[in-house]
Symmetry: C2
Subunit: 92 residues, 2 copies
């Protein structure tokens, strides 16, 4: 799972796009999750580091959680939509 807080719109979109390319799905406006192999995780972290290099105003956190922890999460949601930010792949 990756959660991020990025002030620059273009950089934020670029990070979201990168996460999608690695097969992750958006679970909240600034959170993606998905299943990756060990090599995939290494590649993802390297790609994020490349994308963020020389930039500022960001905080990105990568969590390695088990499928059970993910599926067991509690989701409280009402009248929530991701609108233009890629609502199509939300699983909430």
């Amino acid at each position: 799972m990756v959660i991020y807080d990025i002030s620059d719109d273009r950089l934020r979109y670029a990070v979201a796009s990168l996460l999608r390319r690695f097969g992750l799905c958006r679970i909240q406006r600034s959170a993606f999750a998905g299943v990756l192999s060990g090599a995939g995780r290494v590649e993802l972290e390297a790609a994020l580091r490349r994308l963020l290099r020389g930039r500022s105003g960001y905080n990105v956190q990568i969590f390695l959680i088990t499928p059970g922890a993910f599926e067991g999460r509690v989701v409280l949601s009402e009248g929530y939509s991701l609108g233009g930010e890629g609502g199509e792949d939300v699983f909430v």
Copy 2:
């Protein structure tokens, strides 16, 4: 760990304040983490449900992750500050 996306400012602050009262610390603008007992987790979820009852425009996700998964997270951060939203308790 709790991540949230809440459109209403007052409701968002109320959720952040509730999470703090349960001893969680802000790790990102819309993410808190901390150690809770099983009973504490049940109470936290119940308190969140009460706070959110009848409201709309929110998505709150509660993850039960191990201390190892939390400590092993990768944090990429540069020029990042939480400013007025409680930067004092960020551990990034």
